[in-house]
Amino acid sequence: MMKWLFDVKYAYRMLLKNPGFTSLTVSVMAAGLGLCVFMLAFISSIVLRPLPFADGEHMYVIEAEVDGVLYNGGSILLHDYLDIKEQSQSYETLGAYYSATANLSNGDRAERFSGIVTEPNMFSFTSTDPIIGRTFNDQDAIEGAQPVTVIGYEVWQNYFSNDQQIVGKSVKLNGVATTIIGVMPQGYKFPMAGQLWLPMKEDGKRLTRAESPNVSIFALKKTSVSLAQATQELQGIMAIAEKNFPETNGKTSAYITSFQKNMMGNGSEMIIGLMLTAVTFVLILACVNVGNLLLARANERAKETAIRVALGAPRARLIMQMMWESVFICTLGGLFGLFIAAWALELMDAFLPNMLPMAVPFWWAMTLDAKLIYQSILIIITTAFITGIIPAWKMSRSDFNAVLRDGTRGAQGKRAGRVNRILVILEVALSCILLSLSGVLYVVLQEVNNTDYGANTGHKLEARIGLPEATYENEQDRLQYFQRLVERLQTIPGVSGAGAMSNLPGNGTWYRAFQPEGFEITDKQYPRTGESISFTGSMQALDMRLIEGRYFDSRDRVDSLPVAIITDSMADKYWPEQSSLGKRFKYVNDEDAPWYTVVGVVNHVIHGQPYSMIKHRTTAYRPYTQANRRFMSAFIDVQGDPDEYRAAFNAAAAKIDPEVPTYNMMVLKEKIRRNIGGMSFIRDLFGVFALCALLLASSGIYGVLANSTSRRTQEIGIRRAVGASDAKVMSMLMRQGWIQLIIGLVIGIPLAYLASQGIVQLVGPETNNYYFVFAAIPAIITLVVSSATYFPAKKAIALEPSSALRYE
């Protein structure tokens, strides 16, 4: 007991004695460990942690994969779901759900909530009981049954003011008298951010595939079945459907994944992998730095070690004695790191709702749980071992006789110097990779930020409107509503234009299989195009440039020739080198679907995220008069700040029908900004990683080179004494740093290029501007390393040769 306490006390004393060294190393470890813990907590929260239900680890969602793009949020045809349910052997439970707007009205006021239409078994799937009342039974899901709903805790608290008699009350839900039968517990928002639930009544057997709604499938996978086996089975079922129903299922398969990964979308695994790699690099850099500093200190204490060896210290004790310092440093750094991570997570929790284009999923709990703290402790122990073991091992194997004999602390110079050189090379390579990744992300996202969506998205305020089916059953009523709304919006003072579209530029569209007239289709492999419904005048209000033909106007009536306006990207793709006016196309999921005649061509418009997979997709627009919809996005074009028009927008909508609230009201620019919010957040994170990497690398390299130059002071004195000029000595010292720099860059640049390709492919920049990053970053690192070499060299030269010769 006394023996290790003796060493612990000594290590503690040494750290107290050198507050500069201690605070530097503790800060470095706090930064490295803090970032690492933060990232682990973040990734764990959004992807890795099982859903907070009894079978959370085996809960999955099944969605469609169309033309290589993974869809989410309800993309499987109800018929496909029924096929999967009938044929699959991989699941304990399967159920379908889809999101729906829930306009709730208690007679006093209407409010829009996020509704989930689901099969009754969703609640048993999540093993959650209501706190009041009951959930759905099979009778509730029969067509014609009394409409019922289960509401969430927040709706109960906020909209119904904690009404204890809520169960059994009747409210108007989407215009239909609906009975509230239960209240779910606080925090229950399954499948993502649900606020109230409705029983699903669609009967797949009575609908055709063309009429089939899209659903998501919740699935409890059997523990005996692997995810790969389940995927294989799923793809087999979908392949048969694709073969049998190419009109609805062309290029369509399905995939199974966790709810967490599904929410993250395309490319998320690659991004998460990159983030974990980046943070691991930062942690390695921190360990290398602290290890380097400990090694330098161990070199300085070579004589002390030699004395201990002479007194008969066993090697294990020598190693442990030096390890204690790294244990102290890493433990202190780890504790600070944990605090930093907890604080950053709290900040993140507060800022996330403003950063995401959708509601924050219920499982995103940005906290450090017991498992994470346990993992953090393991990381701290590992880092303490990694940082301490190399210096301790090197020193325990030193030639202590030489140290005792000539008493110079530089006796370990050659061997320790080699380790130092390797560590510097490692630091250069790692920082090069991190800085380059950050730089590439910055450049490509800058390009994405400046993306031309093909419309004037500035000074627009948009809001979603969903007309209840019960009160707006008639197409004419819907048309009139939106006509009146657009007219009223245009009368708001300061508004220069208004319109409505099913999906505004920057917002995703449904991607439909279609047949262009005269375009050869082989094996029923139909192409797909996005479809958006536009209210008359809306394209002009959005400054969507007309290239050919005309915009929608009063000629486009419900009973007139079905028409469409297409983007020039669609025109060029299917009717190249000719005018596409008068050309026709039809959607193929319905045999009775009409042919649409192209009456206009507008410039290419991006609907959805401006990344490689989406941004080149073509779009066809159809007039609202011929493609009546209950859900539209209304917008106004204003002078000044669109945010100031929120109240006026809501008032205009309420004047037309107080039972129809607006929802998801947002400045269009902000919504588009949020489109790349996730990627921007990742860029910022990488920026922090890169900054840490640069600071760590520069301080580490400076420390190592300053130390090695200092140990060569006598040698420098001798060289100058025999006539070496200052310039010669300087170039000799600089060369030492540059050799390590070049080796580090030779390793780092190709790895950085390879690592960046995932991001480049995901974002799909139009230019190769990001190449310059691979020149700029090495230049920055060269500057840093040169400075880190120059200043210690200059200091060594400033010493008189006579003093240098006496230097110990």
Partner: protein, 237 residues
Amino acid sequence: MNDNALITLSNIEKVFHTDEVETHALADIQLTINAGEYLAISGPSGCGKSTLLSVLGLLDTPTNGDYVLNKQQVANLKASERAHIRNKEVGFIFQSFNLISDLTVEENVALPLTYRDDYSSKEVVEAVKKALAKVDMLHRASHFPSQLSGGQQQRVAVARAIAGNPSIILADEPTGNLDSKNAEAVMSLLDSLHSEGATICMVTHDPRSAQRSERLVEILDGKIIADNPIKRGMHAA
């Protein structure tokens, strides 16, 4: 074999290889040190006396030859075994004191004992007190080396060397960094230890220090060229 022999070196050779240069630091060393003997090793710089002391103290291994310490063959032991024997059997006194600056006087003296398994915490404390009392440094037990004079530091080093009751004390130029007054004090201390039965082997340049021992071994070019008892008359001079 001499029954009283504490150390027996037979045909000891030590060769250093540096790049392509081979240096014979010790050659054909035959030396016996009896228990309770006070031996001085002398010779010019670079003659190999410090190397011999390193071999004697198990800090280094001979290239060839036999080394018997306390009736145990120790020439070819592993580093860990040598460390164990060194800790138990050998007490070192260095020219430059070699105290650890960040340990207090009592911690420095206790240090070798903390590497041993046969000392309890209480025994360590007692042994340290006893050793410090013997060198008259008990009153400075909680001081750090930097707070002591050179002579005092060397007395602490002596206390560290004797705290574990080693079989032999190896002193490498123990007065080399001291003024004459402190040198005399340290030499008196060694005399006193010897009179109490300690075996001492001292490397020294200083003829006056050498004359205080019982036996003088002279080395030149790595070989023992003389091994004679010290005459009383020379001691007085």
